[in-house]
């Protein structure tokens, strides 16, 4: 049942429901750049409430809503809003609730979207809550794997880089573990995947942890690269040493499987040099553009055009 459903955490969705979203996103794909001819959400208003800047995610949601014919209400600058006057999130949500048919929320506090969903009658979509959940990012990542490789089951996915703090890695690896996949976690010692996440995943599927990307590149169907942030290291020299090891080179990719794809949640810094962009394995820009059909699918499902 999708009508009026909140999309707060990827953990709320079953495998069947994830596949339903991917399937619907695939149907939206032809309209992602031209707009849906039927304008199924023409009588709907979608509010985007971004308490922290994330221009790309906001624009992607707003574009998706507009492609379906919906109108968009956007929270203006925070300095001028009641947020700046100290209004609680729950109060703001109760007000916005009456202005719109769905609320897209980005907030620095983890769990903010869950809270909002308890105060809103209209569905709430989590567009990122601090270091917590960002379910539409996870869904667009899964859509990219599914679309590029034909299926998710049977695939080997390697995550490389900052696996400790990267929330996209945490959510995506948990969601993938519901499928029949093998996961590889490749990171320096300081940035290993948190134990509780690994423990949870290992209940369902095999997991391999290593520091050495070279030795496992040939086993992978997907190489999911994340940025290693300077701020995580007290010593800049230490950072340089670690970050340099995980730069993706053409020579590395040439040793990979024929259909290997390289993904990245963006923005990237040095971990994927521009020379990779034109290789057939590079799918990160396509991955970003998949945000539109996936968000169109979700908006269409929860606002009930069919």
């Amino acid at each position: 049942m999708w009508l009026n459903r909140d999309i707060v955490s990827i953990g709320d969705l079953s495998v069947e429901e994830i596949m339903e979203v991917l399937d619907r996103a695939n149907k939206m794909l032809p309209y992602a750049s031209t707009g849906h001819p039927r304008k199924p959400l023409a009588d709907k208003i979608v509010a985007t409430l971004f308490y922290e800047p994330s221009t790309r995610t906001r624009l992607s949601f707003e574009s998706a809503a507009m492609r379906l014919g919906a109108r968009v209400l956007s929270l203006g600058s925070l300095e001028e809003s009641s947020v700046a006057k100290g209004e609680t999130l729950s109060d703001t949500i109760r007000i916005i609730n009456s202005y719109s048919d769905a609320i897209v929320l980005r907030h620095p506090s983890e769990g903010a979207a869950r809270l909002a969903s308890e105060y809103a009658d209209v569905p709430v979509i989590n567009a990122g809550d601090g270091a917590g959940q960002h379910p539409t990012q996870t869904l667009l990542d899964m859509f990219t794997i599914w679309k590029e490789l034909g299926q998710i089951n049977g695939k080997s996915i390697g995550f490389v880089g900052d696996l400790k703090y990267g929330r996209t890695v945490h959510s995506l690896s948990k969601a993938l573990s519901l499928f029949d996949v093998s996961l590889y976690f490749i990171s320096p010692e300081e940035l290993k995947i948190p134990k509780h996440i690994k423990r949870d995943i290992e209940k369902r599927i095999p997991v391999k942890e290593t520091k050495n990307l070279d030795e496992i590149i040939e086993s992978l169907d997907v190489l999911y690269v994340t940025r290693i942030q300077k701020e995580r290291f007290p010593d800049i020299e230490e950072y340089k040493k670690v970050a340099g090891v995980y730069v993706i080179r053409p020579s590395l990719l040439s040793r990979g499987r024929k259909n290997l794809i390289v993904m990245h949640p963006l923005p990237r810094v040095d971990e994927i040099p521009a020379e990779i962009d034109n290789l057939p394995q590079a799918k990160y820009f396509k991955q970003a553009s998949n945000g539109i059909p996936v968000r169109m699918a979700i908006l269409d499902m929860i606002l009930g055009s069919e």
């Binding site: 955490s9 953990g11 609680t88 999130l89 729950s90 907030h107 620095p108 506090s109 983890e110 769990g111 903010a112 869950r114 809270l115 809550d129 601090g130 270091a131 917590g132 959940q133 509780h196």
Partner: protein
């Protein structure tokens, strides 16, 4: 006379006896009940008591104080399976085993400082019990999983 039997004869007139506390946790029980600093309450503590069931256990007796359900839930967090005996006029009027509910609300805060439950005053922190042994719970809001040590430090 075994130590266990000796404890049984030291009856209190009115109050609460908490038995079968995992060894080493008696002082934590006092801490979470906030009675270690209250001079108006007489407390007897027995630690490293031999127990057939547990090997060693701790026991706490609190005079003239009947614990409420929120306090019992807090005890369940650190002494799941502990036995509570309520005494009035030297007789046992109620005896039961403390159990953790599947949803734990209002007795501890989330250990994640960035969790919305720590910033929005209107909400009560709420947790789902994932496992009793080892103790593990998950925040309803931020989904942070907490284990024994973190839980101890987060009891309200």
């Amino acid at each position: 006379m075994t130590e266990e039997k000796m404890l049984k004869v030291e009856k209190i007139r009115r109050g609460t006896v908490i038995d079968h506390i995992p060894v080493g946790r008696a002082f934590k029980v006092l801490k979470i009940l906030k009675i270690s600093t209250d001079p108006g309450v007489t407390v007897s503590i027995a630690i490293h008591v031999k127990s057939k069931k547990m090997g060693l256990k701790d026991v706490v007796k609190i005079e003239d104080r009947i614990l409420d359900s929120s306090e019992l839930n807090k005890i369940a967090l650190i002494a799941e399976g502990g036995t509570i005996t309520i005494v009035e006029d030297y007789s046992v009027i109620k005896k039961f085993v403390v159990k953790l509910p599947d949803i734990i609300t209002g007795i501890l805060k989330c250990s994640n400082a960035r969790c919305v439950s720590n910033t929005e005053s209107v909400i009560k922190p709420s947790f789902t019990l994932l496992s009793k042994n080892p103790l593990s719970i998950k925040c309803h809001y931020c989904e942070r999983e907490m284990e024994t040590d973190e839980i101890m430090d987060s009891i309200l």
